[in-house]
Symmetry: C2
Subunit: 241 residues, 2 copies
């Protein structure tokens, strides 16, 4: 009866919270990741925030929250919001690690354009084995960040968080190294890539255009007028020289 081995992998096993290996559905992983990111962005994580992030109706969230609470991945105070337990946070970080490692791999090994890697990784992250994770990690030389500049959590769940300042804060004549670009909007990302405005690039602020925070920057040998939408997606570390 090999039949009974494979069908109850999704969730049921995790409920008796064995320390074994938590096989969990894609939906659960998506919720954990969303909660983690909202939590990290400050304040309490509300039902509606999760709903919006996952493009799901609020009652679906309430429903899932209850399941997550039963699995001890989340602590829920009704009407008050939700908080990851250590177990939940660990799981969230594993998924984020998968995601960011995949992004790096897709960009580096397969040459996938940076504005597409997010969506690809989004689908792959749920089926990446530890074995493959390890192989990709080694092949890439154990990278610390993904192509957007976001830190890749370690296998132990440690995230090297660093805050960078917005490109918008720079003043004319300053030089800076791009450290992170927002991965929110693929369009923005595609345009940044076209202009060479990606992490590790050095830029030189030439001047500010009066209206609406537009900035003229020099990258390599060419100068570009950056609209607000682009400039606000770029985070930099000013050169101290």
């Amino acid at each position: 009866m090999t039949r009974h081995d494979s069908h109850y992998e999704e969730g049921t096993r995790a409920e008796r919270e064995g320390p074994e290996r938590a096989s969990v559905s894609k939906a659960v992983e998506d919720y954990l990741k969303a909660i983690y990111k909202l939590q990290r962005a400050g304040q309490v994580v509300t039902t509606s925030a999760i709903a919006e992030r996952l493009a799901v109706a609020p009652p679906s969230v309430t429903n899932m929250i209850k399941r997550l609470a039963r699995m001890n991945l989340v602590r829920h105070t009704p009407y008050r919001g939700v908080e990851l337990t250590p177990a939940g946070e660990k799981m969230a970080l594993e998924i984020i690690r998968h995601h960011r490692l995949l992004e790096r791999y897709l960009a580096e090994a397969l040459g996938v354009p940076i504005d597409q890697i997010h969506d690809e990784a989004e689908r792959l992250e749920h089926v990446l084995s530890e074995e493959l994770e390890e192989r990709m990690d080694a092949l890439l030389g154990y990278p610390a960040t993904d192509p957007h500049g976001d830190p890749i959590p370690t296998k132990e769940g440690v995230v090297a968080t660093r805050e960078y300042q917005s490109l918008l804060n720079l003043t004319p004549c300053q030089r800076a190294v791009i450290r992170r670009v927002s991965d929110e909007d693929p369009d923005v990302l595609r345009n940044l890539a076209r202009l060479g405005l990606l992490p590790e690039a050095t830029i030189h602020v030439l001047r500010l255009e009066a209206e609406e925070g537009q900035i003229v920057v020099e990258v390599g040998d060419t100068e570009h007028l950056l609209p607000l939408a682009l400039a606000s997606a770029v985070y930099v570390e000013p050169c101290t020289a």
Copy 2:
């Protein structure tokens, strides 16, 4: 209301049989693949054969068959068995293409041992985008077979089927090139790999041991006594010299 975009992707859309793009659940893909393989292995595809292959109870199969029939992926004659429609076969071949391309990629680009590639590919095949498929294909130089020697269907759904004879049919002193190894049993595969008995290897049959079809073969410079379990998993093309 971006909310309504993403939730009805699994199956529901395919039911109104648009010629657009069939987003289909993992389960549907698994059934199609199973039916394809059983169909190809000859005879009528029965409910119980599918059930056994997928390690699922027969009523689950009946249930899914009805859904597949509604989607026009399968023709079902109650109590008589099932047959893929052209649309169903095309879809099955796409998945098999994904699977075999992934196997090749995992082996070649990531160095995953041959006895593990099947299970990895099994999970990845359902989330591989056309974009990534194309990139992997190009990177590998458009390979014709997977590491077990099974043909990779083209994007158009053409499979270059070739029949090879079993190693067991060879007679002493014959030389042959291994063309295919069965991917059924990972253990067998691991042992074959350990002995260098993989596709493209040239072997030399030294003699047959009396009992139970054991065979002594030379691979490279060393000779091995192959138990039946191993020998029967190897398919060869005899050298015509």
